[in-house]
Symmetry: C2
Subunit: 198 residues, 2 copies
């Protein structure tokens, strides 16, 4: 179908219609108390609201407005690549180059300055190359852990994840956010006792 | 189930787990080229990215960071109230008081300053009482119109919506954003010719 034209806004609107597809990318985490898997679009919304809501507890020099933007953009590459489980290290490594190409293609649908700005924000997030990116990365890791703690360890149980894996793969959260991490670690041990984690 | 405690962050985390429910609130609009209805959480993500992406075309004194925050919060009240079709004027009026009570309950789960800040942003959005709120309101209206224009008028056809209704109910978009509205009006007339609108 020919895309309807919107003058100087046409490219932006084509981008916005293309990213509708993120609503179809499924994650392993399910809605709390519900059988449906969440998708990467609604996860991105949840992550962005978490950044706004936890702002008073963020490290002092974090720019929450930039963290919110990273949250909104961070998973758009999954339209081309799909969601890869954070605990599947081999798959995560294999997909890195494809994600970079997807970022070029998808943000490349936009005119400047948005094209470069979005690509730069996504790269900064991916490399963890700033306090904003590290805080965003910690939030993205902590959110599914919180969802699991409130949902009887659903995605841990379904994917055979161990306490050791959660502690090792998310050690970075402890570095950038020790105040929250100490509570999480205590709940993770209880979760293992309940059989939610191997 | 008792909620796990997270020290000073406990209330915020309870709020974040409560709003997981927004992922279960269905709208009339379906994913483009797909049979599934979108939900209010993924719509809120789409709306926020639209604000970021269309920033260069926004009126000069709009603060996009505030518009993004309004987008992320604007539908959270639907957790208690559900989504009401924008063309169902009687239902929209009937639900206004319930939405205000829902905002008090849901944002009230948060400690200060987030409680007051979020409530104020939501009220500003609802009343359209600033350039930011009017731009946000226009974006929220334009997004499902764009989705329908790219999806053979799906939700218009399914709900028997007329060209007249779309033009009348969204006249405010023309006021706050004439540059975009003139393109939309032209496509709406074509949509009617194709039978997508009564």
């Amino acid at each position: 179908m020919t895309q309807p034209a919107f003058g100087a806004m046409s490219e932006v609107i084509n981008f916005l219609m293309e990213i509708d597809k993120l609503k179809l990318v499924e994650r392993r985490t399910k809605i709390i108390g519900h059988g449906r898997q969440e998708n990467s679009a609604e996860h991105s919304w949840h992550f962005a609201v978490a950044a706004m809501s936890l702002a008073p507890f963020a490290p002092q020099n974090v720019d929450i407005s930039r963290v919110v933007q990273m949250a909104l953009l961070h998973d758009i590459v999954e339209i081309d690549v799909g969601d890869v489980l954070v605990y599947d290290l081999a798959a995560r490594l294999a997909v890195a180059g494809k994600e970079a190409a997807a970022a070029e293609r998808l943000f490349g649908l936009l005119p400047e300055p948005q094209n470069s700005q979005f690509l730069q924000l996504w790269q900064e997030y991916e490399t963890g190359d700033s306090v904003d990116a590290r805080f965003a990365g910690a939030l993205d890791r902590i959110l599914p852990i919180l969802q699991n703690l409130h949902n009887e360890g659903q995605s841990w149980r379904e994917n055979g994840i161990s306490l050791e894996q959660v502690l090792t793969r998310n050690a970075l959260v402890g570095e950038s956010w020790p105040e929250l991490w100490q509570h999480v670690v205590s709940h993770l041990h209880s979760a293992q006792e309940k059989g939610w984690l191997r």
